[in-house]
Symmetry: C2
Subunit: 230 residues, 2 copies
């Protein structure tokens, strides 16, 4: 069985897990704490980042973009109207642009700093950079959430799914990030009713169930986290 090195609170990991489940894939999940810089893990991915997918021939694929493109080429292409990347090159470009937006821009502006300060630092030793969260970094990240929610509101309000008429990688990438932030109680849903309606649809998908059932050591999610009707 293929293996996915992931972390429950890494949104690129969640994105790839959602793709795999949508396509009906079985993988073994191994939680990796990247800050430990394990030698065996760095041998798989010298960049030291998550997720890493290792197939049955022990070949490693590194990072959400590389894995998602590979899964499209080897499996998505056979899925017809359930394909998560479109057929048309321009439509594919729009899906990729948005996926990159959530997996890179939003990740850098908001999700990665908040997860690092609020989750990873609790688990790191002092040598690894652990300790109290940096309130300045958290304030900056929180200040950026609103702009991203506004953009999401615009997308969710003007299209059936974020990149167009069909569920795509863009929806899975956005929902991966939003679900991490929602676990931490960082989303003010009263402010973004249109995004909420879209996220309710995403949460109701069977692919979301395992993610909603997961809990991170020492951090309780907000009370509505796993509710489909919140």
């Amino acid at each position: 069985m293929p293996t996915l090195y992931h972390h429950s609170m890494s949104s690129p990991s969640r994105f790839v897990r959602l793709i795999l489940t949508e396509y009906g894939y079985q993988t073994e999940l191994i939680e990796e704490q990247t800050w430990e810089k394990r030698r065996d893990f760095l041998a798989l991915n010298p960049a030291g980042t998550l997720p890493v997918y290792v197939d049955d021939s022990m070949r490693a694929l590194c990072g959400a973009t590389v894995i998602s493109e590979y899964l499209d080429e080897t499996h998505g292409v056979l899925k017809r109207d359930r394909r998560l990347l479109a057929e048309d090159p321009f439509q594919r470009a729009e899906i990729r642009r948005l996926t990159e937006w959530f997996m890179q821009k939003m990740e850098q502006d908001v999700t990665r700093p908040l997860v690092r300060e609020r989750v990873y630092k609790l688990q790191m030793t002092a040598d690894q950079g652990g300790g109290a969260p940096d309130s300045k970094l958290m304030r900056m990240a929180r200040g950026n959430i609103r702009q991203h929610m506004k953009y999401l509101s615009w997308l969710a309000g003007s299209r059936q799914w974020l990149a167009g008429d069909r569920l795509s990688y863009a929806d899975l990438a956005a929902a991966a990030s939003i679900s991490v932030l929602d676990y931490l109680g960082e989303i003010d849903w009263a402010e973004s009713p249109v995004v909420k309606e879209w996220y309710q649809r995403m949460k109701s998908r069977p692919s979301f169930r395992p993610i909603l059932a997961e809990r991170v050591r020492a951090i309780t999610p907000v009370s509505h986290y796993a509710d489909l009707d919140f």
Copy 2:
């Protein structure tokens, strides 16, 4: 004619220019100073990043990854042994992993901070964040160069081209970054003879000529910058 919004010292812009020239494309180049946050430019790419490719139907493609995938799907696929992404999904994954390494990891660790401190800040007003370079940020970026050159040495020493037997996006992405750093005199070539041999081959390609001929306002390149035999 399609248009490419770029900046001479943006390595993702250079990467896309190299692809376009390798494939024999004519495009109009428009230099964009992203720190001005022009409204018309943000309408093309809400992320405000370079490069942006606008085709003859005025459809915009944003960012090096999206543009390079689009060019592969619409043109690379017809190029047979001159295709810059391989045919095999695993080989494609390796090319994408390395392209991402240079366009994202090296960009973040080294190229983007050095270009920002040494080039862009000279052109920005105080309101835009201009002013004297931050020596601490430059020291950090310079400290990271060595690790990237070591990895490049390993790749160039163990393979004919960086991702395997054929010239690929990985080579163009790496050469885009290296050429920006070399312009600024940031590469110590005596330390990396294997990378030097590879970069000489890259510089000798006709696609590199326009880039080597370009000069940035107020910054003279190192004396060997445009020499093919340096």
